[in-house]
C-alpha cells in the first residue's frame, strides 16, 4: 500500500497495531490487556532471570530434540517411500492419516506410556513435525526430473555420486519446504505438550502468570514465544528461498 507515494514495507501495519495495543492498555479497556510499553518493560526485566532462562532452555531442549528426531527419522523414511513403491503403498495411508488427524488426541496416550516428563514432550513435538517432513521428502524424491536420472545413467555416474551430486540437490527445495512447515508444527507441538503433559518450560510460565493474574508477565512471555516462532519460520523461509532459486516451476 502506498502512502504519499511511498511504498510501505510489508509488515509495517504491526506498528499501527502496536500503537493500538498501547492505547487500549492505557485506557484500561480491559484488565487482561496491559499497555504494550508495560509488557515490553516486563519483558526486558524477566529475560535475564533464572526462571525465564530455565523455561526457555527446557522448551528449547524439547523443541530441538523433537525437531532433530523428526528430521533424522522423517527425511530417510520419506526418501525411501519415494523410491520404493511397495513401502510407499504400505506406509502412505498412515502418513496421510496422521497428517490430518488431531494429534492432540494422542497426547494422553503418550502421558500414560511415557510419563509426565520431558520424554513425552519430545515425542509430542516429533509427532507433530514428522508427517509433513516425510511427505515432502517423498515428494521431493518423486518429482526429480526423469531426464536428470537418465542423464546421470548416461554419463555413467555411480549411485553415490548420483545421489550426492544430483538427487540430493534436486530434492532439496521440497525437503526444505517440508522441514520449514514441520518446524512450525513442532513449535505448536512443544507448547501443546507443555500445556497438557507437564508443567515445564514456557507452559509452566503461562500457567504461573495466568493463575496469578500477572498479565504483563503473561503477555511478555507470549510475545517472546511468538517472536521466536516467527523468526524461526522466517529464517527457514529464507533458507528455502536461497536453495529454491533453481527449483523453478514444479
Amino acid at each position: 500500500m502506498k502512502l504519499f507515494g511511498y511504498q510501505l514495507p510489508a509488515m509495517s501495519s504491526l506498528i499501527l497495531w502496536g500503537i493500538l495495543w498501547e492505547l487500549t492498555g492505557r485506557l484500561d479497556v480491559t484488565f487482561f490487556v496491559p499497555p504494550l510499553s508495560e509488557v515490553l518493560e516486563t519483558l526486558f526485566s524477566i529475560i535475564g532471570t533464572p526462571v525465564f532462562v530455565k523455561a526457555l532452555s527446557e522448551t528449547a531442549y524439547a523443541f530441538t530434540m523433537g525437531v532433530i528426531a523428526s528430521i533424522v527419522i522423517g527425511i530417510p523414511v520419506g526418501i525411501l517411500m519415494g523410491k520404493n513403491r511397495l513401502l510407499d503403498e504400505l506406509l502412505l495411508p498412515w502418513v496421510n492419516i496422521f497428517l490430518s488427524a488431531p494429534l492432540t488426541a494422542l497426547v494422553p496416550v503418550l502421558m500414560v506410556l511415557f510419563g509426565f516428563g520431558m520424554k513425552s514432550i519430545i515425542i509430542t513435538t516429533t509427532l507433530f513435525a514428522i508427517w509433513i517432513i516425510i511427505l515432502n521428502s517423498r515428494a521431493g524424491v518423486m518429482q526429480i526430473n526423469r531426464s536428470l536420472v537418465e542423464m546421470a545413467h548416461s554419463f555413467g555416474a555411480s549411485p553415490i555420486d548420483a545421489f550426492i551430486k544430483i538427487y540430493f540437490w534436486a530434492a532439496l527445495p521440497e525437503i526444505l519446504g517440508g522441514v520449514r512447515i514441520g518446524v512450525i508444527r513442532a513449535v505448536k507441538g512443544v507448547i501443546i505438550g507443555q500445556l497438557l503433559i507437564s508443567i515445564v518450560g514456557f507452559g509452566a510460565l503461562f500457567e504461573l502468570y495466568s493463575s496469578n493474574f500477572l498479565m504483563a508477565h503473561f503477555w511478555a512471555v507470549l510475545v517472546v514465544l511468538f517472536a521466536l516462532a516467527f523468526t524461526i519460520a522466517e529464517f527457514l523461509a529464507y533458507l528455502e528461498r536461497r536453495v529454491a532459486y533453481y527449483a523453478a516451476k514444479r
Binding site: 501495519s13 499501527l16 488431531p102 500445556l195 503461562f206
Partner: protein
Amino acid sequence: MRSRPLFLKLLSAVIVFGAWEIAGRIPVSNAFPTFVESMLALVTLTLDGTMFTAYVETLKPLVVGVAISAALGIGLGIWIGLSSKFDWLFSPIFIVMQSAPLAALIPLLIIAYGIGLTSKVFVVCIMAMPVIVLNTSSAVRNTPTSMIEMGRAFLGTKLDIILRIIIPSASPIIFSGLRLGISAGFIGAILAELKITPTGVGDIISFSRSIADYPSMYAAIFSIILLAVLFLNLLEKIEKVLFKGNIRGYASD
C-alpha cells in the same frame, strides 16, 4: 493389478493393528491394552450411548467455532484480497498467527472467559481462522489477470467481476482453506476439552485414564482420530468433485 493398492492398504492396516495387539499382549506397558480390548471397549461405549452423548458435547464448540471462523474468515479474506489497504493492515496479523503456537493463549482465554462453551469456541476460532483467511485472501489476490481483464473488456462492472469471476475462481482454494481450518479446529476442540473442562469425548479420555480403564481411553482416542480422518477425507473427495475443472489448472493452462 487394480486390486493391489486396496490389498496393500488392508495389509498395512492388518500389520499395524496386529502390532498393536502383540504389543498389548507382551505387554509393552501396563497402560497399553491390546487392539482387541480397545475395540471391545469402543463397541461397548457406542452401544450404551456414552459415545454418542460425548460427541454431541464435543462437536458443539467445534461446529459453532468452525461456522464462525468460516463466515468471518472467508469474508475477511475476500476483503483483504480485494483491497490492498486491508491487506497491509490485516495480513501481518494472520501471518504471525499462522506460525505462532496459538495454544499458548488458552490459559488466557480460560481466565478471561471461564471454562464454558464460550472459551472453547474461542479456542476453535483462533486455531481455524488464520489458515482460512490467508488461503482466501491469497486465492482472491491471485485471480489470473487475464480473466479480470476479460471481464473488464466485456464491460463487466466491479461487482460483476467480483461475483462472477473472482469468487468462483478462488473457490477451490477457499474450500481447501476451509478443510485445513476444520482440521485445525479439531485440534482446538480436543485441546479445549483436555485442558479447559472435561466434557464430551475429552472427558471419556481423562476419566478413563484416572481410573486406569485404558481400553476405554484408547477406544475414545481411536474414535476421534478415525472420525476426524474420515470427515476430512470426505471433504477432500467433495472438493475434487465440485472443482473438477479447476484442479486441472485454468482454462489457459
